[in-house]
Amino acid sequence: MLEVDQIEKSFPQPDGSRTTVLEQVSLTVKEGEFFTLLGPSGCGKTTTLRSVAGLETPDTGRIGVAGTDFFNSRRNVFVPARARRIGMVFQSYAVWPHMDVHDNVAFPLKVMRPKLRSEEIRKKVRRALETVHLAEYEHRPATRLSGGQQQRLAMARALVMEPRVLLLDEPLSNLDALLRETMRLELRRLQREAGITTIYVTHDQVEALALSDRLAVMNRGKIVQVDDPRELYHRPQSSFVAGFIGVSNLLTTTAKSDTAPGEIGAVEWRDQTLLAVMPRGSRQGAQMVLSVRPENISVTQVNGSVPQEGISGQSNILLGNVAESQFLGNLTDVLVQAGGEELRVYGSPERVLSVGDRVSMEAPHDACLALPAE
């Protein structure tokens, strides 16, 4: 449906040089799909999105929807934003403060050519407002809405003109934690009901995982990996992705032997030999990053008998001391000092670990991924 083909974009710098912000970015988003662009701040997500919207012109490449070119540097095609029929929700919402709720939503219909009858406009606005549960606020000034309501208003404005594609730029980042969770659910429901092809930009991986059909991880202007949420979470292809999606402990290790992709192999970390899955294989002596997620590590206080470090049955075992322990309500976030590095593990909220406690950490081999170092 939406194709982005090898777009590149550079910006002039104050000193006269140019920085490349997008490098060979290619994407394909399917009809009705909820597609997310995820990456750290400054990686080029917004620039990609704005290029699709037509608010930014890439230097080279091609952007097309359903076969029509919106931008094609080779054929010198550029369709301006207002003619693309793409809805967009801005990070700042950009709700017009001088209009009330109704007028904000009606605007895209009012500027439409051929003109719609005012009756029809009213009907469509009402429908859009109902979709986002704002019908009762129709005549309130836009400035008198709370953050979450503004966000839904921006959504209604983007949806009312029945766009071909919907673009969302970090719509939740201005909301507080509770509201953010509620809105996340709402958003997903809306998108599914409208069945609209959506590109969502965020740097919050929880949001990305929760919402997306597929997601692309970007880093420094490049797309690093495109996959569905579970795949990305469980089978990251680089330590960058492993570290960025969810919380991961990343340990620098050395491969002890050659291993084929997907097999379990041995790595050495600070004199300990550990076993891990090698998704992309390895050569002996290669630097590998061992990635283990906190929720896969079970942590127990060491009282009497001290367990053996290293490989034990189907698991790797490490010993350490609690450096920090934070109660988060439904779990305890524990930092364990082990071999000079700090590992993050989750304790259950009931079991209280205090700073300085000696603990053993156990993680199954197949939950340990050895990824090529970058």
Binding site: A81, R85, G87, F107
Partner: protein, 586 residues
């Protein structure tokens, strides 16, 4: 979204339990800075205002004279002519304001919101015409456009082979044209920051909604800029009603009478006293208008704050790409520069070089010479008055910058009733014509003889400081509003006193505006002659009054020579100032 919070900040330490201490404690809660400012403003504005109001009830029209009368009011408001004048005035003021707004708005948009190449350069160019006193701008335009002798009609005539219809320069249209050109730089200086601070995503959202450029402009951008535009409109409108340079030079020959040329007539009778009584009565009536305008202004600024809090965090200044229109834009900005600065400048240069006052003519070219320019600048008086002008303008600029900074800060940060009063008081001088201000100051300094300022250059500086107070206060308020108050509060939490906060945090942060304001005042003070003429005595001549006296006594070449040099020097200082402000003001 964080709402801006206003604070009432106590400024004195008091800790005690005894009754005396309690009294001190209560006093301590009264904030000294607003109070001191209040007293200063009372002296600076309430006294002149009082003397104007007083004058309007005096038979002679001078505040110190005796007797009471209502004649001035009744003779004004019983005369049908007054109403005709008001009609004309509204057309003149309204159209000039609108045109200035359109030009300044377009320029500000090009500079602040598009990728126009060479923006820094153009920015300096746009404010350059500020260096031209409006009366010279008007005279320059007469030389350019007068149907009989103007250079432009002659050229057009040649080009079109005589088919060009006559363009009536001595007309309402001509007045509006010149008056708006004169107001563009100030309008630009006020509009540009407002545009700079507008989150572009509001407009982008309109594009994404399928709106065209014009639809976006009309339905999103303009409503958005309503508050600054409204406040600018009130400012410009009142300036138009009071400024008589353009109406006197262009309106009078064209037989277009407006309120300000009526004031000019009242102030320049062929014999006898200027009719201060009627003038004061006209102005007292104008004050009513001012109050209405201020009320409008407050309503609009209240909205400004509402608008400001809504802009989110993901704000990034994106510029509108001009694409192939960029050459058109460059052409437009350049055309403005040519019309507002270059052509009038050339006209005056011509006057300074020509043997006698005359329109452009090839016949006179062989007779052009630098004699009068050299002659003018070898006169001692020109040099002493130049030194005086520099001292006056600098004093006025320094004094008013400091005062405006304190005022702007106090008015924005503490929204007590006192600071509201400060704001209104700082706007008052705008309703007092410059000549009246001179009379008022004579009145004041004869009433307070212990201040031996009368007859010195300092009184001129003071007079000009008062008349430019409204602009200073407005500009600094706009600058302070943009600062998050937490920046100053962080200073307070660090243990800094108010003075330290102002000097080490506030001043560096508003440096750009401060430099801009300084230049603005310097240039305007340098070129102002009404107050200066009224207050000068033998040894406090300033350059502008010398220029004016040459002009009015049959030495246009000498006057134009001074004007030409003055414009070049002021232009340079404007450009220099902008560069300073731009490079160090972030």
């Amino acid at each position: 979204m964080q709402s801006e919070q206003t604070l009432t900040k106590p400024d004195m330490t008091t800790r005690s339990s005894d009754p005396a201490g309690r009294l001190l404690g209560t006093l301590g809660r009264i904030r000294p800075i607003p109070l001191v400012l209040f007293v200063i403003l009372l002296l600076l504005t309430a006294l002149p205002l009082a003397s104007v109001i007083l004058a309007s009830f005096r038979p002679l029209g001078l505040p110190l004279s005796d007797g009471w009368t209502l004649d001035h009011f009744s003779s004004i408001w019983s005369d049908a002519y007054t109403y005709r004048l008001i009609g004309n005035t509204f057309v003149f003021a309204g159209c000039s304001t609108a045109l200035a707004l359109v030009i300044a708005g377009a320029l500000a948009w090009l500079i602040e919101r598009t990728d126009l190449p060479g923006r820094g350069f153009f920015m300096a160019v746009i404010v350059m015409p500020m260096a031209t006193p409006p009366i010279l701008l008007a005279i320059g335009w007469v030389l350019l456009m007068s149907p009989a002798i103007g250079a432009i009609p002659k050229v057009l005539d040649l080009l079109t082979g005589g088919l060009m219809p006559e363009i009536p320069m001595y007309s309402l249209g001509g007045m509006i044209w010149v008056q708006s050109l004169a107001m563009v730089p100030t309008s630009f200086l006020i509009l540009a920051p407002a545009m700079r601070n507008m989150d572009p995503s509001f407009e982008e959202a309109a594009f994404m909604s399928g709106a065209s450029f014009w639809q976006t402009l009309r339905r999103v951008s303009l409503p958005f800029l309503t508050p600054p535009i409204l406040s600018l409109v009130t400012l410009l409108f009142i300036v138009c009603m009071l400024s008589f340079d353009v109406p006197a030079v262009i309106g009078m020959p064209g037989n277009v009478a407006v309120m300000s040329s009526e004031i000019y007539n009242l102030m320049h009778p062929s014999t006898g006293l200027p009719d201060y009584g009627k003038t004061a009565a006209l102005n007292s009536s104008l004050l009513v208008l001012l109050v209405a305008a201020l009320w409008l202004y407050y309503r609009s600024t209240k909205q400004t704050e509402r608008f400001r809090t809504i802009s989110g965090k993901g704000y990034k200044a994106t510029r509108f790409s001009l694409g192939r229109f960029r050459w058109l834009a460059i052409g437009g900005v350049s055309l403005y520069f040519v019309l507002a600065a270059l052509l009038p400048f050339l006209a005056l240069l011509w006057v300074s070089l020509a043997p006698y006052y005359s329109g452009f003519s090839l016949d006179l070219v062989p007779q052009l010479s630098f004699n009068s320019m050299i002659g003018t600048f070898t006169r001692d008086r020109v040099w002493t008055s130049t030194v005086n002008s520099v001292v006056v303008a600098t004093t006025c600029a320094v004094g008013l910058s400091v005062l405006s900074l304190l005022l702007g800060w106090t008015i924005v940060r503490s929204r007590s009733r006192l600071s509201r009063a400060l704001d209104i008081m700082s706007m008052v001088p705008i309703a007092i014509p410059h000549l009246m201000m001179g009379v008022a100051l004579i009145f004041i300094f004869f009433s307070f003889r212990f201040l031996p300022l009368y007859g010195t250059i300092w009184i001129i500086a003071l007079g000009q400081l008062i008349i430019y107070l409204p602009v200073g206060s407005r500009m600094m308020q706009a600058a302070v509003i943009q600062l998050h108050s937490e920046l100053e509060e962080a200073g307070e939490m660090s243990g800094a006193s108010n003075f330290q906060i102002i000097r080490r945090i506030l001043v560096p942060l508003v440096r750009g505006t401060l430099v801009g304001l300084f230049i603005w005042i310097f240039v305007h003070s340098f070129r102002e002659f009404s107050v200066a003429a009224m207050l000068q005595s033998g040894r406090n001549d300033v350059l502008s009054t010398v220029l004016y006296s040459y002009w009015e006594s049959g030495q246009p070449d000498a006057a134009a020579s001074i004007a030409v040099v003055m414009m070049v020097v002021l232009c340079l200082s404007v450009v220099l100032g902008r560069m300073l402000g731009a490079s160090e003001g972030r």
